[in-house]
């Protein structure tokens, strides 16, 4: 194969902060005391919190070394399925850190915050236009938070209709957050199986949809990377029974400029700005999960909403049917700034090119690897493709986990593994559009080389990874005797 990116090199051990701590050190420069000290009553005062005591260089080295143990998109290809690990443009960080944004106090008042309000207002317009919906709220703090927001709206909608419902239809390909979000609204999840070719059959939905069912939660493209072709019929079935259609838009990166979810029967959709719109994941967040809705659901959007009155932007919270507030202030503004900058940088053309190339990359990988790994659903895919370990497991007792860990030695972040649940031993590859053909070819070569190793040297895979700072960790012990603090 072409030279693999992964190799070994010098890293640094680094103890826990408190092992470095020495009484009397302080890495912060204390502001001057220009007013006299005022003591609170002893009964109220506690001991100083037992935080580590370090010099500034101690802190800098600690986190510099820690960072060097991490793998990010800037380190290498990160084809984590369903997570859209695309390049996070640095210029967007510059925007978010402008004093006018970073230093803005959320209670500065509308007059003093026109820039922030205008940005959020415009972003809501952009997202509505991209998804084909009537209105958007950028308040939800993450995808799952957007799901909850959307389900709360559906719940409020039925309540308003006069009769609450008890169930929600969720296909087996759904992300775990879907049923979890539905549960928070008190809905029982009715699990429906996707059809033989990985997408939902209208019949399956018809079979379960009834007047006590609030609606359906659909992900389109779904988590197999397949487009739900029966979207419209399914929506009709659900609507016919008075239900609503929730769309999980986490996979929007596949279809920008091609499909507008708002035009195909979906009533409410959430987006993951930290996926499709390039904001960094930050090792687990913060993200942002705006919700887009059609006319029917608009009255239920969370408050405050942003309105424009002769070029003045205002927060308004008086909508009578709103589900209420989802975030202490207005959502993850700093994340919104990045997504807004991204959209301005790409424009309509750039966004749809991004989707096209994301889909091209995924299909290219699918074609190149389908001989090597088993491909449960051999259909044209969208932004990601899902293989599994059928071949390797049956023939060499090598699992998806073994191959994933071995990929680390080759210098790649592994794909998403064991999700979606409908595919056992799933190996879910989402390259994203920002990976170049050479990079992808390197990845393909790596997977092929690993498949070879499964034949010739299975032990090498079972004991992988070999060159990472630590190797496989004992997760069972971690869960059995949890040690959650030092």
């Amino acid at each position: 194969m072409t030279q693999k990116p992964g190799t070994g090199g010098l890293k640094f051990n680094e103890p826990q902060l408190w092992d470095k701590s020495r009484k009397g050190r302080c890495a912060v420069s204390l502001p001057k005391e220009d007013v006299e000290e005022s003591l609170l009553d002893d009964s109220l005062v506690g001991d100083a919190p037992d935080l580590p005591q370090l010099s500034e260089l101690d802190v800098v080295r600690h986190y510099t070394r820690l960072s060097q143990w991490n793998f990010g998109v800037d380190s290498g290809m990160y084809p984590l399925g369903s997570c859209t690990m695309k390049y996070n443009p640095k210029i967007n960080e510059v925007q978010a850190s402008r004093q006018g944004f970073a230093a803005a106090h959320p209670f500065s008042g509308d007059e003093a915050s026109q820039g922030a309000l205008k940005l959020m207002y415009s972003l809501e317009q952009f997202l509505a236009e991209i998804t084909g919906f009537e209105a958007v709220s950028v308040q939800p703090a993450a995808g799952a938070h957007g799901e909850l927001t959307g389900m709360l709206m559906i719940h409020k909608y039925h309540e308003k209709k006069g009769k609450q419902r008890s169930k929600i239809i969720i296909p087996d390909t759904a992300h775990g957050t879907n049923p979890a979000s539905a549960s928070l609204c008190g809905y029982d999840s009715i699990n429906v199986k996707s059809g033989p070719n990985g997408i939902l059959e209208p019949e399956a939905v018809k079979a379960v949809m009834d007047e006590d069912t609030a609606g359906i939660m659909l992900t389109n493209p779904n988590t197999l990377g397949l487009f739900e072709n029966h979207m419209k019929e399914i929506a009709d079935i659900v609507h016919a029974k008075g239900g609503l259609v929730y769309g999980d838009g986490a996979n929007m990166n596949a279809i920008m400029g091609v499909v507008k979810p708002g035009e195909i029967g979906i009533d409410v959709l959430h987006l993951n700005l930290h996926k499709t719109f390039s904001t960094p994941h930050g090792g687990g967040g913060p993200g942002a999960g705006p919700v887009a809705v059609n006319k029917i659901l608009e009255p239920f959007l969370p408050v405050p909403r942003i309105v424009k009155e002769e070029n003045i932007f205002k927060f308004v919270s008086t909508q009578p049917d709103t589900i209420g507030r989802m975030h202490t202030f207005y959502g993850h503004f700093g994340v919104l700034v990045r997504a807004y900058s991204y959209i301005l940088s790409l424009g309509a053309q750039g966004l749809s090119n991004a989707s096209k190339l994301a889909v091209l990359n995924a299909n290219y990988i699918k074609e190149k690897l389908k001989g090597t790994l088993h491909l449960p659903y051999d259909l044209p895919c969208m932004h990601e493709c899902v293989f599994n370990d059928k071949i390797q497991k049956e023939q060499y007792h090598i699992t998806t986990m073994d191959m994933a860990k071995r990929l680390l030695d080759y210098g790649f972040h592994p794909p998403t593994v064991y999700f979606p649940l409908v595919v056992d031993g799933a190996f879910m590859v989402e390259p994203t559009e920002t990976e170049s053909k050479e990079g992808i070819d390197q990845f393909i070569d790596a997977v092929k080389a690993i498949a070879k190793e499964a034949e010739t040297d299975p032990e090498k895979l079972k004991t992988a990874p070999h060159i990472t700072k630590v190797t496989r960790l004992d997760e069972v012990a971690a869960a059995r005797k949890p040690c959650l603090k030092g």
Binding site: V28, L30, E33, D34, E36, L51, P52, H62, Y63, L66, S67, W69, N70, G72, S75, K86, N88, Q95, G100, A102, A103, A104, F107, E111, A116, E129, I130, A141, G176, T177, P179, L184, C185, I255, E263, I264, G282, G283, G285, P286, R325, M326, T328, F329, Y330, L346, G350, N353, A354, L357, L360, L408, E433, S436, K437, V470, A477, A478, A479, L484
Partner: protein, 445 residues
């Protein structure tokens, strides 16, 4: 487009492999009637340079673009952020990583968050802290839900009226679709929660009290603990100003079962309210009830120490509809930021800065009294307090903002109609004596 690496040749050769003529053909499998006939109608792509100009223009429409003096807290606090904090957090290995699903190459995030969890337990005096939640309000809603889910009989949670108004609204939003109920604990003339009224309440699963409360006043959490015990209700302590626990007895030492609050004060910029940092901590007993991610220490097969995501069986990706919460992505990078901040200020700095906040607030209150404002309450506070203002204050305040970028307190009427003519003031280490004297002078005239 500089983010898209594909050359014409790349696209051609890749299409040959996938067996498509054009990029558009990649979408042939999608039924025509599902495709959009309408393009995306948004502004054309702009260059990095035009973006900079446009964004600076927008930013300058916020008063914050100028150095302004912030005498407002109310859930978002103006604290100094040491230069090393943004410098270290901007390292791309932290910034561009996903949730640490592959621990072998995520030890940086994992140890960093593990250390964060540990420092939070020390700050709050609790046994366990989660890897973060969205913000203080959503963390409180989760806490309320825990108390309700775990209680055998009761289905009501009592929330103090002096809890941050937004937090109370979020709790309402989260609970509305459930069979659970929220009742409000009223407050006294003194600007603290009316614990007598609380004592009179029946069948409570949880009691949520914020201290320092929204009016800045310090609540008697010890008493709350007693009442909670008597009523077999869970005690949930919340807060919006983490800095307070550099000085005050922490909620853990006062017996809280769960603590939920906002960690923005720990090195995170105000950023118009988000992203902040939801802090959620509990006693050992609550370990399996806590929502969201937890990092645990373990060893690798060679016996070397390492860290992993653990107790995932609580979470949605395993438990799905039976999960303790739907949370997936949290505010990890903000947690890492808070970790760096706490490591930087350390035990000494945290105490000194907290004391300094209190000193400045006391001085601010004193000077405001001298310049004609009346204190609304006479109870201990940390760095926020309420003053009754004279006629015309509001106009003067507006002028101060427009002409001098000074934010002189927050009008409480929208949140507490009964407090018409009252303002909530805050002083942190970032305001100097000079600033305070200047404000007082302005207020006087």
């Amino acid at each position: 487009m500089r983010y898209l690496p594909h050359t014409k040749e790349d696209i051609q050769s890749m299409l040959e492999v996938t067996g498509h003529k054009t990029l558009e053909n990649l979408f042939d499998s999608i039924p025509q009637d599902l495709k959009s006939k309408n393009g995306i109608n948004i502004p054309e792509a702009i260059s990095e340079w035009d973006l900079n100009a446009h964004m600076e223009h927008l930013a300058s429409d916020n008063i914050a673009c100028r150095d302004y003096k912030c005498f407002i807290g109310a859930g978002s606090y103006d604290h100094y952020i040491p230069a090393i904090v943004p410098y270290l957090i901007s390292r791309s290995e932290f910034m561009t990583a996903y949730t640490p699903y592959q621990p072998e190459i995520s030890q940086g995030t994992l140890q960093g968050i593990y250390e964060f969890q540990t420092m939070v337990t020390h700050l709050l005096g609790m046994d366990i802290a989660t890897a973060s939640h969205y913000d203080g309000g959503t963390a409180l809603a989760e806490a309320a839900l825990i108390s309700l889910r775990t209680h055998k009989t009761a289905n009501t949670v009592a929330v103090s009226r002096l809890t941050h108004p937004s937090h109370r609204q979020i709790v309402d939003t989260y609970l509305r679709p459930t069979q659970f109920k929220v009742i409000e604990i009223p407050c006294t003339e003194d600007g603290i929660t009316d614990l007598k009224a609380l004592e009179a309440m029946e069948d409570l699963a949880g009691i949520c009290v914020q201290s320092p409360n929204f009016l800045g006043n310090i609540e008697d959490l010890e008493k709350v603990r007693q009442i909670a015990t008597d009523k077999k209700a869970m005690m949930v302590a919340s807060f919006t100003e983490a800095m307070a626990y550099g000085l005050l007895k922490n909620p853990g030492s006062l017996g809280a079962d769960i603590v939920a609050g906002e960690g923005q004060s720990l090195g995170i910029s105000k950023s118009f309210g988000g992203p902040g940092l939801g802090l959620l901590a509990g006693t050992k007993k609550q370990m399996r009830n806590l929502p969201g991610r937890l990092i645990g220490k373990t060893t690798d097969v060679k016996g070397r120490p390492g860290y992993v995501l653990t107790l995932a069986t609580r979470e949605q990706h395993i438990r799905r509809e039976k999960a303790s919460s739907n949370i997936c992505s949290n505010n990890g990078l903000c947690a890492m930021t808070a970790g760096i901040y706490m490591a930087t200020v350390g035990k000494i700095g945290m105490r000194k800065i907290a004391q300094l906040n209190h000193n400045k607030a006391i001085y601010l209150k004193k000077t405001l009294i001298e310049s004609g404002l009346t204190p609304a309450f006479d109870v201990p506070f940390f760095n926020e307090f309420v003053m009754k203002v004279p006629e015309g204050f509001d106009q003067m305040r507006r002028n101060l903002i427009e002409e001098q970028c000074i934010f002189a307190g927050l009008d409480l009427e929208p949140y507490y109609p009964e407090l018409k003519g009252h303002y909530l003031f805050c002083a942190t280490e970032t305001v100097s004596k000079e600033d305070i004297d200047y404000l007082a002078k302005e207020v006087q005239s």
